[in-house]
Symmetry: C2
Subunit: 645 residues, 2 copies
Amino acid sequence: MSNIKITLPDGTIREYPKGTTSIQIAQSISEGLMRNVLAAKVNGEIWDANRPIENDANVQLLTWKDTEGKNTFWHSSAHLLAEAIESIYPKTKFGIGPAIETGFYYDIELPEGKMLSQDDFIEIEKKMLELARTKSEYIRKSVSKNDAISYFTEKGDNYKLELLEGLEDGKITFYTQGNFTDLCRGPHIPNTGFIKAVKIMNLAGAYWRGDVTRKQLTRLYAVTFPQDKELKEYLVLLEEAKKRDHRKLGKELELFTFSEKVGAGLPLWLPKGTLLRERLEQFLRKAQVKAGYLPVITPHIGSKKLYITSGHWEKYGKDSFQPIHTPEEGEEFMLKPMNCPHHCEIYASKPRSYKELPLRLAEFGTVYRYEQSGELHGLTRVRGFTQDDAHIFCRPDQVKDEFGKVIDLVLLVFKSLGFEDYTAQISLRDPENKTKYFGEDEDWEKAESAIVEIAKEKGLRTVTELGESAFYGPKLDFMVKDALGRKWQLGTVQLDYQLPDRFKLEYVGSDNKQHRPVMIHRAPFGSLERFIAVLTEHCAGNFPLWLAPDQIAVLPVSEKYHEYAKSIHTILEEADIRGFLDERDEKIQRKIRDAEVKKIPFMLIVGEKEEESNTISVREHGQGDKGASSLEDFIKMFQEKIKIH
Amino acid sequence: MSNIKITLPDGTIREYPKGTTSIQIAQSISEGLMRNVLAAKVNGEIWDANRPIENDANVQLLTWKDTEGKNTFWHSSAHLLAEAIESIYPKTKFGIGPAIETGFYYDIELPEGKMLSQDDFIEIEKKMLELARTKSEYIRKSVSKNDAISYFTEKGDNYKLELLEGLEDGKITFYTQGNFTDLCRGPHIPNTGFIKAVKIMNLAGAYWRGDVTRKQLTRLYAVTFPQDKELKEYLVLLEEAKKRDHRKLGKELELFTFSEKVGAGLPLWLPKGTLLRERLEQFLRKAQVKAGYLPVITPHIGSKKLYITSGHWEKYGKDSFQPIHTPEEGEEFMLKPMNCPHHCEIYASKPRSYKELPLRLAEFGTVYRYEQSGELHGLTRVRGFTQDDAHIFCRPDQVKDEFGKVIDLVLLVFKSLGFEDYTAQISLRDPENKTKYFGEDEDWEKAESAIVEIAKEKGLRTVTELGESAFYGPKLDFMVKDALGRKWQLGTVQLDYQLPDRFKLEYVGSDNKQHRPVMIHRAPFGSLERFIAVLTEHCAGNFPLWLAPDQIAVLPVSEKYHEYAKSIHTILEEADIRGFLDERDEKIQRKIRDAEVKKIPFMLIVGEKEEESNTISVREHGQGDKGASSLEDFIKMFQEKIKIH
């Protein structure tokens, strides 16, 4: 028997007998690794870990830490769920059961007359764990289309038969674990024993194949883990996430609202939300002035011609908000989906010299993009949002420097808003397929190495993805981890060779000849809507002091002290400290509780003692009493705290 | 012969013989008045001053100072122009010759082969003055349709024949002065002798009846005056207006631009214009915070449902930018033409108590309104503009107080921007026709007297117009006179009973019952685009110091002093004084000239002497050298100058 060569991700090459499985490869490295291997990426394709490898191959072993490993685990768990259902409710018919972002689901049709409820979840979970403990292997088997049809005809599962109709004979596989066999392409984890913790989350109705004219099936959502501890942590996280949900906090803190008459996905910013948003804008505006940006304002519509020039019409026109016609003149305008074409027109509004570059045009530009109403979600998925957009028009030799400055700005934003855990993804060309990219080879090489270098110089933690760049240029995306460990893509920096070409942008070089500038798109926040949503969840509504809608609340103990309280409030207002005076006819305990619910950073309580000694009693949100203070000292302490902004 | 009673505008009643003319009435008052009477308003209708009055009537004598008097004068001048043309170019055919805002025109078809040019203007002007000096009376004569047709058939004037087609027999009049007879409803001035100064301004092509398929006539624009001095002043003003044209200055000062690809009437704000605009916004924003306004932000589109509710769809839908469709879901959105419906939805987003009122929601809201492309003009007539909008939701008993506060804000704006000459127009219901207005009679009466009272209390110079209110409420419009004496409508305050009703807005009163709030729409600037256009022309681009895009320019005499100049510039920047450092390799005279052209308020020149003595040489725009100063003193002086903002 001949050997095959296996290349591992770190580049080491090992020899194994032909027909070795990924599990065996893992075992040859360590027993611990073997116990954790869920599947393997073999020459870029995901395989069962127990599938024999017959030829030389690149192999990446997949564990729970890899997205593909997790997906395989959850897909296998869906089969386990089906097995449990079938064992409890024989004659159940099965639709599809994929892995999703947070677990998996299975669409099922229960036997006539049977309805599931939340009360049944425990029994199903118990059965799943019982079956898991049998450590049944997931066994892959190729079947002919005829045999497959016979099997499901006999079983009486018309959904699987319908799925079979679309499959090609010779490419059909079954997977069996324990007593359950499913039509499935795979891959799967080695055996059910890997599944140690199970939780059915929810049930919902779901039309077969998403078609409202077809039967409504029962969709069971569930999640599983390789360790019980992880499930517990997940449930705690989920509970915490619910509390921090920006839609809930947005309502409680009166940041924003939606209106059916205005339209789905179109937020209405309430006063407190508006002030918060304006402060974020003001913060970035100041930083941008320092960094040499020039502000511009452009309209929210543009002639269709603009988007034909930019290429957006051809690429996205059909799936966008449709053109706006004028009543008489037959003109067509589009809601702007991005600000760059407008900024290109500003660049083109007069001749430019190399001395003017880099020209950094910044706009808090509200753009509109069509999303299906079912896809909308709070402020994270909307139809109108405001980008903290800027376009840097520069010479090719300025790219590295400009990228570096943008990185500084992004990091300033993260630091100021308390995001400490972030990585940067460098997306480069697919080196195997250079022809599909726009722009000169030489420029790409320079730009890519510039980005890689500058990211290194700035000490960023990076991952590099080949083939993930846009076709018009390489990019750098910032992913932050929030307080719950969830990852969000926020800021982005993109290089663009294409738009300057489409808009025929030029500058006169030092050689007195016309040259084409390079364009950098960048948005440190990404979008204000999304950023504020993420920030709200990250800090659970306890915004950094400088950003908090109300920074203080002055709470008089009774009406007798309103006069004194008012004088305190006025002095604070004059010191640019925001907040309110609670003159309601309520007990002080109630006023404190209400201020705590509103997450007001500082409560200033004033009564007889305070008035007499000309002081205030300071209470900090979530930290309780801080004792008496002169107003002067409080203001000094306060200003110290918000100093960096 | 019996007498008739003539009631004059001041209420006095005089008796005259039946058949007295307005000229005779004027003569009975004073000879001077007689010489100035151009026409008269008799029972609301404008009459020839020499037309006999047969019954009791209200009579207002019209002179050059009245818009209607001026229009009559110019319309008569059009006849004089026609007479002159006919005398110089016999066989000319005549279209129409109306008065317009700045004079009058006549559309003519010259005899075959004859073309007019600017060179012919002097001859025509000379002929007009010659004919004017004959003091020919304008003689009115009723003619039958048949006689009228005969007259123009004989004359061979097919345009007048076409106009006759649309006229009813028995209502046709001719006017004759000297040798020229025109088909005309009148009225006219007594005789041509009133016309003392004449200027042909321009010629252009104009299709007969605005129909591009008809013949193109020659349109002659002209202007006339009752005194030569007035023409001279007018021409100076015109020259000055050209220099101050905001479209010209906007380009020179790089405030804004337009792009054919973005679309007509959609301004792109360049960096300097954006900064200026942002400062105006910031100024008002601060004033509004003090005045208790709460900022909100709403999207630039809204579902069609919103505008069906508000009534805008029914009223303006057909003439607006047409609805935006979504690709799949068949939804319809409109570009928002105003912010009020969105603000109503914010009001309605939670239950309101009388304690919360007045609720003042403010937004710098960009709205889009369709205008025909031919009607667009710089920033004064655009398709997208930003209102400094706010809506005050208040109880009926708060209307007067709120109106007063809005007046204060408008006056603060005028004062801060150097508009010293303004009047306020109070527009009330037509008392004869109360049924056509929306809302309770009692509320109207209260609101109207509240507005009249508060305007008086605030010492406003007002004119009151009955029947000029909107159907949904009374209003107060501010008209400013600019440095050239031109009037512009800027700020507006409007009461609205209708929208709260259409949106079913409510608040719980102190009686614990539901009540409907009143709504006040207000915009002190009106629109930022229009305001900046008017301001630019008013101050000829020499913006108030606090608003100037660049406040200073640091001008080093040569490269040797760049280092010192840079240190000066840095200190100024830190003191929030805006400007630039001119490091070009140019002579100092050139740098000064360029800074003067850019209307930079202060030029700070630094050379050997200044560096040695650690000073700057200050030059003020348009005022020349101000001598040496320490930087400290300059900053102090500067900050003093901008103190109120």
